[in-house]
């Protein structure tokens, strides 16, 4: 039993390390457009991302964590808890190893893909091919393909709308101000809905689907109007002010949105396998019916926040100085598309990559001819690493499993 506790402690350490890495590296993707468009400073980005990642992790993060925990490997049929324990630990180690390797070698490897690959490796070693839930896995892989496209489409349409209705007009400042409640309202609608719909919070307040929709709609209208009033109060119209002036403020809100979505989706990459270990050590089985405890999600959120606080600064500094062609309207479209994609996926329990959603957002605006120069070909490189990461981390996970089996 003591060895089990040792494994749990090692699990905590590596879970924290994974979360730290997500915070340090991936936060740059989500906050980059806001920092690049000079809507927020790096200090603000670190602050916003830190806090809202924790929020997203706690309140919306359980779906994806459950998917990682019991969606890929049907842990119920694992005969031996000891094998499952070693397996989960090796999955966590393998994923952490991959994230470190990709950081060291500067490869565009997704933490999400690493952890899913590692979980597959664990399942195969612990119970053979039959314990892998291939149907669910197919859905996850589909979500990896669909999510960037979804993000491209949203960003494209959003930017086209902004061009058509606001920035191509003569009085673009007034137009932007008048239409701001709609943009803010849509954002709030998705956020509030994701808080109320199928979450512990929603259950506690006993809000059903239609009620959740109604509440979100009403609240988003209210927030939209409040935001418009705030905007018109705090931004004085000058001869130089354009729609960008308005969107600069709105983008502060969308950065929060992105950080929230990121916390919701990415916490699972660190906490998913840890939750398996936790339940085996505590209860002797994977606890399929028990929800992920609050403090595990909180632990993951804090890990991400620590990563942001310690290393996010440096990464965002590089980005802010390099990306100068991005304006606030473009940044808004990118943020909105990426965050909506990730949040919707999180609600569906699909572990998608925040990085890929952001890349999709940039491409969407690029396809709408909104950016002076975007390199499209990056996606081919990213796609190559899709196909490499999953088998590679699965094999690593298998190898670690064999080694750990000898030791433990």
């Amino acid at each position: 039993m003591t060895s089990n506790y040792c494994i749990l402690i090692v699990g905590y350490i590596f879970g924290f390390y994974m979360a730290w890495n997500i915070g340090a590296n991936d936060v740059a993707n989500s906050m980059a457009s806001a920092v690049g468009a000079k809507a927020i400073t790096i200090r603000q980005a670190v602050f916003i991302a830190g806090i809202l990642n924790v929020f997203g992790a706690i309140f919306i993060g359980s779906h994806v964590t459950n998917t990682i925990r019991k969606g890929i490997v049907s842990a119920e049929i694992l005969a031996d808890p000891h094998v499952a324990l070693i397996g989960a630990l090796s999955a966590l180690l393998a994923a952490a190893l991959w994230v470190s390797f990709s950081t060291w070698k500067s490869l565009p490897v997704s933490t999400t893909h690493s952890i899913v690959g590692a979980m597959i490796g664990f399942g195969i070693m612990a119970g053979g091919f039959s314990v892998i839930k291939w149907g669910k896995l197919a859905a996850i892989v589909m979500s990896w393909i669909i999510s960037p496209f979804f993000s491209i489409i949203i960003a494209f349409i959003m930017f086209k709308i902004i061009v058509r209705l606001i920035i191509s007009k003569k009085n673009q400042f007034t137009k932007a101000l008048n239409l701001s409640p709609y943009f803010v309202g849509i954002t709030f609608f998705v956020i509030i809905l994701s808080f109320l719909f199928k979450t512990p919070l929603g259950k506690k307040l006993s809000i059903e689907t239609p009620a959740a929709l109604a509440v979100s709609l009403i609240l988003s209208i209210i927030f939209g109007i409040i935001c418009k009033n705030l905007l018109s109060r705090f931004i004085k119209k000058k001869s130089t002010s354009t729609a960008e002036t308005i969107f600069k403020r709105i983008q502060i809100g969308t950065s929060c949105y992105v950080a929230l979505a990121q916390g919701a989706n990415d916490v699972a990459n660190a906490i998913g396998p840890l939750a398996v270990i936790y339940f085996i050590v505590k209860t002797g089985n994977v606890g399929a019916t028990v929800p992920v405890p609050f403090f595990l999600l909180f632990f993951g959120g804090i890990g991400i926040a620590c990563g942001i606080g310690m290393a996010g600064h440096r990464v965002m500094d590089t980005i802010g100085s390099k990306i100068t062609t991005l304006t606030n309207t473009r940044g808004f479209a990118i943020d909105f598309a990426a965050a909506t994609t990730v949040l919707v996926a999180s609600k569906m329990g699909l572990p998608v990559s925040t990085t890929h959603a952001t890349v999709g957002g940039v491409l969407g605006v690029g396809l709408a001819r909104g950016i002076e120069a975007v390199n499209f070909r990056i996606i081919f490189k990213i796609m190559l690493y899709w196909f490499l990461t999953v088998p590679a981390s699965a094999l690593t996970s298998m190898a670690i499993f064999k080694i750990l089996q000898l030791i433990l």
């Binding site: 690049g36 191509s168 590089t318 940039v362 950016i371 120069a373 975007v374 390199n375 499209f376 990056i378």
Partner: protein
Amino acid sequence: MRIPFMSMFIASPFDGLQEHAEKVKECAWAFQQAMECHIADKCRTFEEFRQNVVRMESEADAIKRRIRGHLPKGTLMPVDKFQLFRYLREQDRVLDAVEDSLNWLSYRSEPGIPDKLQRDFFLLVDANIDPIEELSTMVLEARKYFKSFSEKQRTLVKDIIRNLRRQEHEADKVEAMIKKKILNMDIDPVTIFHMITLAEIIGSIADHAENAGDMMRAMIAR
């Protein structure tokens, strides 16, 4: 590359385009001074000005190569890549014509431009400098158009292009007038050949500026 977001944004070719246009403008001033110097008697600095223009031309060439060499395949831009290159080529030809005219003048320094033609050549140079100065404004305004896609901004760019066309027409008229005058002068045939070709080269500056304007018109077409 760990952060693909960052690698997606590459240096904007419009920065280079702007820089190139500024170089052209700078060259135009040096060209004007060189011509004035050459026409005025006892000028010793003509060669210096010419060398200056030659240097600037090679700098502009470097900018041109940098733009062409640093647009990877599959770059998304507000305009088609080859439209951009075609525009750049015309803008560069303006500069080539400026350099050529000074070189051509330097091949035969005596007796220089005959007294009777001096005023006309001043006119021709001025008529060709005007469109060059418009180029950098045009690039600047076009960039603003690609930021906002507003009809107002598009009209502004179109006005500049129309202006270029008009200025080219004016320059053509001066060129024709000067050629007619040269061919009816009683001077030695070598000087006539020298002067006619000079007028043609200087006249081509405005032609290329107008062509650049036409390329820009294609770039801002909806």
